[in-house]
Each structure stands twice: as structure tokens, then as C-alpha cells.
């Protein structure tokens, strides 16, 4: 297989415009002859489904939640980037492009990122027109804030709930198309397989989560917008239901999976508090605009703090180490996420962590409150402070927050070409579900941008090029390919139900998560990865021998839902480890201990690893096959990333 990224010729700034002219169009009267399936209704899925409906296609949109509005994009807090340069502070499309490629540690595709920066400005216009209530200044115009990895203020926001407001915008556009009859939404419906006919994606098999019925849906193209796979780690900031099953089953049908080891560990999350913990809660990166990160200067003082002999307020200014400001004077507390997370781990590994477990650092607002007053800080971050207080029972206006990194986002995902098509013809991947724009590290406020860019402004153009070459004929759902896929799904469910072992699904999930956090988390090394691979295989074998799934298949059965997802997480975890093992350099969120600078920064190896690692499925338990897409940089100079 030769990976063809289909990047258009010409200067990077002209590629997208040229491509839009060169792609084939489907005339308005013919669009209604094509059916498109969209799986997932977060920012990418809802925006794609709505826009395709507006264009005239027949769209079916699927989500496992009870309403499209609950997709996990809803939980994004901080904001969305766009190169509007409303602040007159030197921003431009090129600067957003440059920051994103650099922030991704030079492991993303220039052409895709440039397009992302270009359409970013349209996204803001679109959302405002829909009634998204972005923050405004007193003059009535839009406000901006700054975010990690950038020296301009280009982040648009809606208090601490930008994700909810953007998703409600896309959801409203989707609802409008439902009212017009152009989109049909299937809530509480989970995709369990991709159906291929003559080598093309022609439909999906789903489980109705209320009745348990296995059903098929046929279409001319399928778009996966199913999010990331952070829940491989069990504990993450993802929603409880966020899962990799749709993408994973597409991988097993032939779609390549790219850079699976690129995981983003977000630096500012509320630390773990106990074994019963079900998920981790993020505190928006925007807090780092005003909060200062520190730990005690000495191990001794940190120990006394942990034992409760002294309190945080007993530590004199001179005894505090504002380590990000000290090491990175240019960016200070606003260094990119991977750098902030790794440094938190470093100081905790040194024994200078705080909280009773020692796995936390302070995020302190005392100076900001002194400078601007409590009311001003409350206006910016009030709901985040409240959330922190609810969870920890501590008042962050009086005491610094305790934070620690947690798994938050996955840059890896299904490999896609410039058109966002996977290696399976007719199968597209949008949003976090694909690998394309963030390289080895995503900058804050760029996930919302990418989801909406893909859904509103990229796929609606590129999918026409594919459909224009397709015949109108529909594949009936009693076609043998559908029947076969349905039977395989039913068999797998029955197999899970029949094991009747002794261990719960969650117990396997937690075990897997710990292995991954220890050995394929913030720092990775050869020995740990080798060990992790064996351990994952052991967990997989034990799962299929000893899992207990209560209930039956033909009814609402949340245990069976989780069992399917965890079975896939276990397989995906092994691929993540394989990928981490084969990439012996450090880059972005992928930190190989063997490859670091004397100052413990990630040391890239551009000579040998400036490529996208795209993996091909060869059977469960078999070694996957690696395909490389070499990355070429014509506009951004590869340098050692420095935020000093």
C-alpha cells in the first residue's frame, strides 16, 4: 500500500483555493440522490451533518448519547482559536499556521494545518451568525484571550463553556435540517461495524441501545466523527462514554491508524483522590493566563507540607519555585501543554510535589487577585473556581489550586488524506477521530477549531469530489455484506455475554489504564514499553476468559456497551505501545526517556522520524504493518522547539 496524501501542488497559501476549484461538484439536483452517514454528533459530526443537509444530501447522524447535544465537545472550556487579528497584535493566518506546526513539534502536515488556519476565521463568523454568545467587550465587539503556545491573543471564548456554546450552535443547525427532513438523527445508537461493498465503505451496523437490536444502515459514504481514545487510560478528562470502537472497527476493516502513541496529557487537572475515582476533571488552560504554577524549592519543605506540619501559606515567597517562569521566561506559565505537564512530573519525581500523595503542584491566583481584585478574577474564571471547590471542598480564592496532569486528548487517529478520506474509499474521519492537524502535541483552543473546520468547511467540499464519481445506486441492507457484518456483531456480543467469568468489565479497564499510565503515559522507555506489551496481552487474554457481563443483549445493557468498548481499548492499547516503541525519538507529547536534551527537553530526530506512522491491521495478536508518510516542510523551518 502506498500512502497518497493527495496534497495539492503549489504554494501552501494557494493549495486549498486551487483544490476547491479542481474538485468535482455534485449538481444541486443530484445531491438528493446520495445518502451520507455521519457517526458522532460532536463539533465535527454535527457541523458536517448540518452542512451536508443544507447542501441537499440525505444525512443520517448517529450518536450513543440520548441527544446529539451531549457529545463530549460540550465539555471544552477555554476557547477556540482563529486568526482574526481583532486585537491588532500581529496575528495572521501564517502565524496561526506556524504556531500550530511548531506547537505540534513538526509532526503534522503543513498543507492541512495551513487550511485549518485559513478557515479558522470563517468559523467565528459562522458561529456568531448562529447566535453563539461569545464574550464581548463593552463596545459590543468580540473579546479574546491568550492561550498556551502563542504570543498573541487569538482565542475566542464563551465564559468557561466555549465547547457547550459552539456545540449548541452546531446542534441548532442540525436541528434545523432535521425539521427540513434532510437529516435524520439516531440517538442512543452505537456503531459496531463498518460495512464494505466492493472495497468501498457503504454502511454501518449499529446497536439500538434501548432495544438492543442490531440494525444496518446503507449509504454512499460514511463519516466518522467519533472523537478520541483517551479513555484507553481509564482515568482521563474524557466523558465516561467516549470510546474508540467505531474508529477501531474501521481500522480492523482496513483503515490505517496514524500516530496512535501521540497522547496529550493536560497539565491542569484536579488530582486523583481515591481508588473509586471514575474520571478526572480538567481546569481550563486559560487559568494559566493568571495563575502561577509553583512547588516548594526544597524536598524537605514539600515533605513537611504533605505531612500537614505546615500549610501552603507558611511558605515564604523566597521558598517557592515558580519553575515554569524560571525555566521558560519568554512563555512562562503559558508554555504548551506537553512542556507544562512534563515539568510538573519532573518536580513531583524530585519529591517536591504537594498534596498528600505528592502528585500535585500549585496553581496560585493570589497575585492576580491582588492585582485585579477578586471580582475581576471571578468574572473570568468564576465557574471553574466553583467546579474546583465542589470537587475538592477547597476555596481557590483563598488557597492555591492543586493540579496534576491527566490524559486529555489524542492527536493520533485514523489516517486521512488531504480530503479527510481514510485509506478505505468512501470512509472519512473528522475532528479528534483523525490524526491530521496537531502533530505530536495539540495547542490549547485548537480542538474546537479543528472539529468545526473539518465539519463546516472541509468535508462538505471534499466529499462531493468522491460522490461525483459514484453511481447513484443504493446497496440494500439485506446485501450479504450487511448480513455478514450483522452476524459478526451479534456473535461478538453473544460471546461477551457467554463468558460469565468472575471479573467486572471495569476491573479490566482499570488494570489496562494503570499499565498505560505507567509505561505509555508522560514518559516512555524501551524496557517499560516491552513490559507493557506483555501486560496488555495478558489482560486481553484474561478479559476474554474471565469477564462477567450481566444481563442479555436484547435490552438496555450498559455493561455490554462497556464490554465492547473495553475489548477494543485493550487491542488499541497494544497498538499505542507498538507505535511508541517504534518511534525512538521524543516529540511533543511523546517523550522517550532515551531521547532528551541535557535540560530534559524532548529531543526530536528529524533525520529518522519526520514521518507519520500509519499502521495496518493484520489480525488480533499479530504485529501490525507500518506504513510511513514522509513529512515535508517547505514553509516552517524545523528547529528545536524553544519556549525560553
Amino acid at each position: 500500500m502506498i500512502l497518497d496524501s493527495k496534497i495539492p501542488e503549489g504554494p501552501v497559501a494557494e493549495k486549498w483555493d486551487k483544490h476547491k476549484f479542481n474538485v468535482k461538484l455534485v449538481n444541486p439536483a443530484n445531491k438528493r440522490k446520495y445518502d451520507i452517514i455521519v457517526v458522532g454528533t460532536g463539533l465535527a459530526g454535527a457541523s458536517a451533518a448540518a452542512t451536508l443537509g443544507e447542501l441537499g444530501y440525505n444525512v443520517k447522524a448517529f450518536c450513543f448519547q440520548d441527544s446529539p447535544r451531549r457529545a463530549h465537545s460540550i465539555a471544552a472550556q477555554g476557547g477556540i482559536n482563529a486568526a482574526k487579528n481583532y486585537q491588532n497584535d500581529g496575528d495572521s493566518v501564517f502565524r496561526l499556521f506556524y504556531d500550530t506546526v511548531k506547537g505540534g513539534d513538526y509532526r503534522s502536515r503543513e498543507a492541512n494545518v495551513y487550511r485549518l488556519a485559513q478557515v479558522s476565521v470563517n468559523i467565528i463568523d459562522q458561529c456568531v451568525a448562529q447566535g453563539v454568545p461569545f464574550a464581548r467587550d463593552y463596545g459590543g465587539l468580540l473579546a479574546n484571550r491568550s492561550f498556551g503556545g502563542a504570543q498573541v491573543s487569538r482565542t475566542f471564548y464563551a465564559r468557561g463553556q466555549t465547547g457547550q456554546q459552539l456545540l449548541l450552535g452546531a446542534y441548532s443547525a442540525l436541528n434545523r435540517q432535521v425539521a427540513y427532513g434532510k437529516v435524520k438523527v439516531f440517538p442512543r445508537t452505537e456503531m459496531l461495524d463498518l460495512v464494505m461493498v466492493d472495497g468501498k465503505a457503504r454502511g454501518i451496523v449499529v446497536r439500538n441501545l434501548i432495544t438492543g437490536k442490531i440494525e444496518s444502515h446503507s449509504a454512499h459514504a460514511v463519516i466518522l466523527a467519533t472523537g478520541g481514545y483517551g479513555n484507553v487510560f481509564f482515568l482521563s478528562t474524557n466523558a465516561m462514554g467516549s470510546n474508540a470502537t467505531a474508529a477501531w472497527r474501521a481500522y480492523k476493516k482496513g483503515a490505517l491508524f496514524a500516530n496512535p502513541c501521540f497522547t496529550q496529557i493536560h497539565p491542569t487537572c484536579i488530582p486523583v483522590s481515591g481508588e473509586y475515582q471514575s474520571k478526572l476533571t480538567l481546569m481550563s488552560e486559560s487559568l494559566r493566563n493568571d495563575g502561577r504554577v509553583w512547588v516548594p524549592k526544597t524536598v524537605e519543605m514539600a515533605q513537611r507540607l504533605r505531612k500537614g506540619e505546615i500549610t501552603v501559606n507558611d511558605i515564604a515567597e523566597a521558598d517557592r519555585d515558580y519553575y515554569l517562569e524560571r525555566k521558560y521566561p519568554a512563555f512562562g506559565n503559558l508554555v504548551p501543554r506537553d512542556v507544562a505537564s512534563r515539568n510538573a512530573k519532573l518536580v513531583c519525581d524530585e519529591g517536591r510535589g504537594v498534596g498528600s500523595s505528592g502528585l500535585a503542584v500549585y496553581l496560585d491566583f493570589a497575585d492576580a487577585i491582588k492585582r485585579e481584585g477578586q471580582a475581576a478574577i471571578a468574572a473570568k474564571y468564576g465557574n471553574l473556581f466553583e467546579m474546583y471547590a465542589k470537587i475538592t471542598d477547597e476555596n481557590p480564592y483563598e488557597k492555591p489550586m492543586r493540579i496534576y496532569p491527566a490524559v486529555h486528548y489524542t492527536m493520533g487517529g485514523l489516517w486521512v488524506d488531504y480530503n479527510l478520506m481514510t485509506t478505505v474509499p468512501g470512509l472519512y474521519a473528522a475532528g479528534e477521530c483523525n490524526f491530521s492537524d496537531h502533530g505530536a502535541n495539540r495547542l490549547g483552543a485548537s480542538a474546537l477549531m479543528q472539529g468545526l473546520a473539518d465539519g463546516y468547511f472541509v468535508i462538505p467540499y471534499t466529499i462531493g469530489d468522491y460522490l461525483a464519481k459514484m453511481p447513484y445506486d443504493k446497496v440494500p441492507t439485506d446485501h450479504p455484506a450487511f448480513r455478514e457484518a450483522e452476524q459478526a456483531v451479534i456473535d461478538k456480543n453473544n460471546q461477551l455475554l457467554a463468558i460469565q467469568g468472575t471479573r467486572t468489565v471495569d476491573s479490566f479497564h482499570k488494570e489496562l489504564g494503570l499499565i498505560m499510565w505507567e509505561h505509555c503515559g508522560m514518559a516512555r522507555n524501551e524496557e517499560g514499553l516491552r513490559f507493557a506489551k506483555q501486560e496488555i496481552r495478558r489482560v486481553r487474554e484474561a478479559f476474554w476468559r474471565d469477564v462477567k457481563v450481566t444481563g442479555v443483549g436484547e435490552e438496555l445493557n450498559q455493561t455490554l456497551e462497556r464490554a465492547n468498548r473495553v475489548a477494543d481499548f485493550i487491542e488499541l492499547a497494544e497498538l499505542m505501545v507498538d507505535d511508541a516503541q517504534s518511534r525512538k525519538e521524543s516529540c511533543g507529547g511523546h517523550f522517550r526517556e532515551e531521547s532528551q536534551t541535557p535540560e530534559n527537553e524532548a529531543l526530536r530526530d528529524d533525520e529518522n522520524y519526520a514521518y507519520v506512522a500509519a499502521w495496518e491491521f493484520t489480525g488480533v495478536g499479530n504485529e501490525p504493518r507500518l506504513h510511513r508518510e514522509d513529512l515535508e516542510f517547505e514553509n516552517v523551518k524545523l528547529t528545536q522547539r524553544s519556549y525560553k
Binding site: Q65, V128, Q130, G131, G140, S278, R402
Partner: protein, 261 residues
């Protein structure tokens, strides 16, 4: 280790939980003792622990809706001790922590009760009526592309803030569950207000309110009798002002109806 109270003792509780096999079967309250509940657990984590025990004993776990566990997706529900989302004001069930209960407490847990929200199973209800109300008009009719530059629509900060307050609704349904009439007025009014306040939404304000209210009635939600229970129990503080706004919008719309459908 989190929380200000690391030495807080684990609690023993008695849960009375609504169990119902499916939409067509009658349900009943079932009692479960739970031990070793940490005060730092969230309410849903406490249910996770109980469910884990049930699974180990080969009993079916309690089905309940939940997803983000950050108080924003609106999936979690639960009528706890007779209150939507439990005893804490301005808090969804997923953000409710066990430190608000005492050792030895008996806690009743029921699904949202409303004719328009039929029970699927145990504590899981069907809230798709809310989606259908939004589909009836909860949007501004703009297609992707072809819109003006975002800063060509200046909006006074006070108006933007007010619209924002209405836009924070998480569509959880607590307002309906808290209302003795099972009215959806607070939910509907939040969307109507948000869009009626913004200049972008004014073009369709009359047809919007008429269509959304009509759909609300079709779905079988009760009438509003101004008890205010909805706003008191709303986890995100949607204000009763929105209901006033809805009434004004509705009367004006009906008096000068443009709804040709």
C-alpha cells in the same frame, strides 16, 4: 487525599432505588445497603461502587444516564430524596459529593417523573421530547458560509451577557422533574430568550416562539403555574425571567402572527 477533610470517616448508607425492567413493565423501589462510602466520592461514583458489587454478585446493575461527569453535558438526572439532582443548589448529580450526606442516611433515588419523559429502564428516561422542541424552532436559519464578518454584528455587552445566561441551559430536564405540572416552560423559555435577545435571532422570533410552544404542548408537558420550582432546582441557574420573556414573546407573536404554516 483531596478535599479539606482527609480523615473523614467512610459512611454506611441505605439506598432505595427505583428499578424498572423496561418501558412496559411496572417498577418498584428496591433497598440496597452500601458501606465504605468516602465523603469525597461523587454521587455517581457511589453508584458505580454499588453497581460493581451487584455485578460481582451476578445481579443486574442499576441503569442510569451519565457522561461528562463535569456538570455540562446534561446527561445525568436522578431525583434524590425528592429533589432534582439532590440537595445541593446549582449542582448536577455528577457534581454532587457524598460529603453532603451523613453516615446512616437513607437516600431515595428515582428517575425524572413526567408523562413526556417515559422511563426506558431503572433511572434512564426518554428526553427526546426536548430535541423535538428544539427542532421546531430553536435555531437561527443560516446556512454554512455566506455570513457577515463576526464583528459586523456588534452586540452590547449587557445584552450579550443576558443572552449568555439563558444559553447556559444544559437540557437535563430537572425543571420538568421539579415541576408539579411537569411543565417544560423554563427549558423552552431559555432558548426563546437567548435567540430573541440577540440581533441575529430577531428575524424569526415570532415563528420560533409559536412553533416551539406548539411542540411543547404536543409532547404532553404540563402548563406553567408560576411555582418557580424549576428555577429553584435548575443546576445552572436559569432564571424565571426567561419565562416572563417567553410569555411576552408568545403574546406579541400571536397578536401579530406571521406563522403561515
Amino acid at each position: 487525599m483531596a478535599g479539606s477533610n482527609p480523615n473523614a470517616k467512610p459512611m454506611s448508607l441505605t439506598l432505595k432505588v427505583w428499578r424498572q425492567k423496561n418501558r412496559d413493565t411496572a417498577g418498584q423501589m428496591v433497598t440496597y445497603p452500601v458501606k465504605n462510602v468516602s465523603p469525597d466520592m461523587s454521587f455517581l461514583e457511589m453508584l458505580d461502587v454499588l453497581n460493581d458489587d451487584l455485578e460481582v454478585r451476578n445481579e443486574e446493575p442499576i441503569a442510569f444516564d451519565h457522561d461528562c461527569r463535569e456538570g455540562i453535558c446534561g446527561a445525568c438526572s436522578l431525583f434524590i430524596n425528592g429533589r432534582a439532582h439532590g440537595p445541593e443548589r446549582g449542582t448536577t448529580t455528577c457534581q454532587l459529593h457524598m460529603r453532603h450526606f451523613k453516615d446512616g442516611d437513607t437516600i431515595t433515588i428515582e428517575p425524572w417523573r413526567a408523562a413526556a419523559f417515559p422511563v426506558h429502564k431503572d433511572l434512564v428516561v426518554d428526553r427526546s421530547a426536548f430535541d423535538r422542541i428544539q427542532q421546531a424552532g430553536g435555531y437561527i436559519s443560516v446556512n454554512t458560509g455566506g455570513v457577515p464578518d463576526a464583528n459586523e454584528i456588534p452586540i452590547p455587552k449587557t445584552v450579550a451577557d443576558k443572552a449568555f445566561d439563558a444559553a447556559t441551559c444544559i437540557q437535563c430536564g430537572a425543571c420538568v422533574a421539579a415541576c408539579k405540572n411537569a411543565s417544560a416552560m423554563l427549558f423552552v423559555s431559555a432558548k426563546v430568550s437567548q435567540l430573541a435577545l440577540l440581533p441575529q435571532g430577531k428575524t424569526e422570533r415570532k415563528t420560533r416562539v409559536e412553533n416551539m410552544v406548539a411542540q411543547m404542548d404536543i409532547e404532553g408537558f404540563g402548563a406553567c403555574t408560576n411555582t418557580g420550582a424549576c428555577a429553584a432546582e435548575c443546576p445552572v441557574g436559569i432564571s424565571l425571567e426567561n419565562i416572563n420573556k417567553l410569555r411576552r414573546e408568545f403574546i406579541v407573536a400571536k397578536a401579530t402572527s406571521e406563522n403561515i404554516a
